[in-house]
Symmetry: C2
Subunit: 254 residues, 2 copies
């Protein structure tokens, strides 16, 4: 199976999952707290992860899966093919707004991002692809992102990091022309890959960034931990940045 065929197969799975999520939003959603009151999970998060994990297990039984809701595997190495799933990214928005959330899948091979999928379910905006296939938004090939500097664009930043000025996140964000907080990593990645924001700084788990990295690297964007060291899909939450090349340089300018 070629990379393009794999992309098309996963596109069809995510489309099916998105239709199912829209259908489920017509009935009340069951909400539980996970680690704290800001960290929710619903039956839709769990059922969507189960749907995707079953599709992957059946088609690719030798692959490993890392899923936010824990239905996948425990990873100890980055070798082989790994699927990284966030079934509903932006669960707080999902619960409080019934919009502004995404389904995300990132596929890594031997620690290299090869395909990403981010579907804004309610806006029906679906970005997918990778470095070998090209990156598409609803079937249209995306061009590389315009390389603008920190002062010339909008920046997405995590509220807690901004409040505490973690690793100078507040000082840096205030240099941008405007600050946005969307409550959904996938929406920030969609904005960055479409040139609608020039950076996004947050505290992310691998399922929050895997899809976004696979989509953004082919478009000329740079991502790393927020101290400049390489991100890791084996670590838990990590301070993370994605930006245009110029903005990335501006962020780390002394």
């Amino acid at each position: 199976m070629t990379r393009l065929e794999l992309m098309d197969q996963v596109v069809s799975w995510v489309n099916e999952a998105a239709e199912d999520v829209k259908e489920k939003l017509k009935s009340p959603v069951l909400v539980e707290e996970k680690s704290n009151r800001h960290d929710l999970v619903t039956n839709v998060d769990k059922e969507t992860e189960l749907f995707l994990v079953e599709k992957i297990r059946k088609a690719y039984p030798d692959d490993l899966i890392l899923g936010e809701e824990g239905l996948g595997d425990s990873l100890t190495s980055t070798s082989g093919r790994i699927w990284i799933i966030d079934p509903i990214d932006g669960t707080l928005n999902f619960v409080k707004q019934q919009e502004n959330f995404c389904i995300m899948i990132g596929i890594f091979e031997d620690n290299e991002p090869v395909l990403g999928f981010i579907y804004d379910v309610i806006k029906d905006e679906f970005a997918y692809g990778g470095k070998e296939t090209g990156v598409f938004l609803n079937g249209e090939l995306l061009a590389p992102v315009e390389n603008i500097g920190l002062r010339d664009g909008l920046i997405g930043v995590n509220g807690g990091m901004f409040a505490r000025n973690t690793l100078n996140a507040q000082d840096i964000a205030l240099k941008a022309v405007g600050i946005r907080m969307l409550g959904c990593a996938g929406l920030d990645f969609l904005n960055v890959i479409r040139g609608k924001q020039n950076a996004y700084i947050s505290n992310l788990a691998p399922w929050d960034f895997a899809a976004g990295i696979a989509l953004s690297e082919p478009l000329g964007l740079i991502s790393s931990k927020f101290d400049g060291s390489p991100y890791s899909i084996l670590d838990g939450r990590q301070y993370f940045v994605i930006a245009t090349e110029k903005t990335y340089a501006d962020i780390f300018k002394k």
Copy 2:
């Protein structure tokens, strides 16, 4: 002319303006800085204000108009009927994202908000109405907003006020379940009147809040300056809050 007929007339003007804005987005937009690099204006802001001002002047020559781009009148009193216009609210988003902006009109009579209009042009979400007509979203009557407390909902807050903790804005916002920064007052008002956010705190001019107040008071929401004193359409920028009744009380709880 009844209030309902006036509402329908303005709905048709705003629909026409929105179609025109969509058309203009197909060509490059001319951007200028106003007071600073965060404060932009485009030809579309100016042309949309001109279109609306001409409609109002022709139909209601005795009314006064306050417009963000200065094509209206200078107000010295709140008596009579006053139209308060923000032709493109969220101009930074308009320029950088070509979405996430609104057309807004508020109508006040003898200092009372009587009708409001907020049109999210790209999402085609149009809220309009007031206390006598009811409040509609795309033709559907909106119910009063669920009265939830500060800790149980999402809050929109201005980035500068949050960074500087102006009047405790940061301390208050961090008590909410999540913080959102959208860069467009109209989008925050739309979220609050639809129960998708329980509050919005910002530094607003009358054209930023007039429409939102007219739409939100009939739905049980409370607004004032952020020190608890009454807002004023004669003042310039003022620290401003709109919230559900419970959240408003939570905000001012010592």
